[in-house]
Amino acid sequence: MVSTLIATASRAGNAAFLAGAAVLLAFSLILSMRRARTIWATSGAFAVLAGLAVLFAMNGNMLAAHLDDLAGGGISSTTRLVLWGAAMRMIHDAPLLGLGLGSYQSAYPMYSDVTMRFIMDRVHNDYLELAAGWGLAAALLWCSAIVWLTWICARGVLTRRRNRVYPMLAVGAGVLVGAHSIFDFSLQMPAIALAYAAILGLGVAQAFSTREL
């Protein structure tokens, strides 16, 4: 994952990775402090921060150039805002049932107000795409289900003593894909969706102690 981040210098990828890493770091610190292992916790935090510093030293220039492009192009003219605007108009037109999941590419020309030299097949925001495809209620239910499962994992991290690394991994992965889904469509890639589903399943399965089952 780190090598991909370095190679692509993706803005959303880096931000999502940082969010996921920050959550894992926060949980690690909380758990270590509970056990009065402050020295270990602090050392671990420094190790992670050092790793992140190395990551940004390697791809920082490319990432800065990407961010400059974003600023120079004017936020209102970026492609993502055009895509999101079209999705918002779709949601406005069919808020209850949506236009059908996967219909964004076909519906886009009817809702676009700008001609752009791209094939607009994804919203680059999974939340808007779900709401445009399924309608607000179904999209909300779907997202709530994922949040609920992630919440179970987070609770498991704080309450379990054994195997808490699995729910912790699931929470970190959830924050990563959740943040990335604001700007991209990683969960529409079968490999990522499958890997995330497996991690989440593993996390939920290990979020309860045997006594609770």
Partner: protein, 225 residues
């Protein structure tokens, strides 16, 4: 009673496990046709991707792509429309027409599909062809990759098109003339029946610009660029 409780649990455990598997099996069966379509599209590459971007390929590529895509499920309108377009570009409009018509009944929001149907009907039934193209223009009024084929399909059908579709084509032609990136599409349009007349309409009241464009195209033909 307590001793019997685990036995009861065991009896329900496997049915429960199988029941939990059912949604996954249902999703798998629902996804299977799409998976087969995906394999066919992969095998037909690069024809569908190039058609989408209006990049011409040798004629035999389209024949091969149409043959491969015929293995995709007929229920997948999207893939069947690529097959219809491949048949059309392979010079087989009569075979393409029923495929496009059936695919559009599955995927009626495909603006590109209505262009394909319009082109297959152009010689045999220009009125139906014009109606199909008007629908495409309504579905996708200013789509970058659809404007060139819409204009090429619309130029020969000009007198059959409703006024709003004619206005749309003239506006698109103005946009095409102003776009450096779409210059090859302008040359293709000018080589189409009715294409020069459409470009002339787009320049109505701007004769100097029309002359400038003529000079530029003449220079290109003579290799002076």
């Amino acid at each position: 009673m307590d001793a019997q409780a685990p036995a009861m649990n065991d009896r329900w455990l496997w049915p429960l496990r199988l029941a939990l598997l059912l949604p996954a099996i249902a999703v798998l069966f629902a996804a299977l046709p799409r998976f087969i379509s995906g394999l066919a599209l992969e095998a037909a590459f690069p024809a569908p991707a190039y058609m989408q971007m209006n990049v011409p390929l040798p004629k035999n590529y389209y024949g091969d792509a149409a043959q491969i895509l015929s293995h995709a499920p007929s229920s997948d309108g999207d893939t069947q429309l690529w097959r219809a377009e491949a048949l059309l570009r392979n010079g087989r409009p009569d075979e393409a027409e029923p495929v496009a018509a059936a695919a559009l009944s599955r995927d009626p929001a495909s603006a590109r599909g209505w262009i394909v149907l319009s082109e297959t009907l152009q010689k045999r039934d220009p009125q139906k062809a014009a109606a199909a193209l008007a629908l495409s223009l309504e579905l996708a009024p200013r789509e970058y990759f659809l404007m060139p084929p819409q204009m090429q399909a619309g130029a020969p059908l000009w007198r059959y098109l409703p006024p709003n579709a004619q206005d749309r084509l003239v506006e698109d032609a103005r946009w095409l003339i102003g776009s450096e990136q779409l210059r090859p599409a302008l040359r293709d349009l000018l080589a189409t029946e009715g294409g020069p007349a459409l470009v002339t309409r787009a320049f109505a009241g701007h004769s100097n610009e029309l002359r400038a464009l003529n000079r530029e195209l003449a220079r290109e033909r003579l290799g002076l660029h």
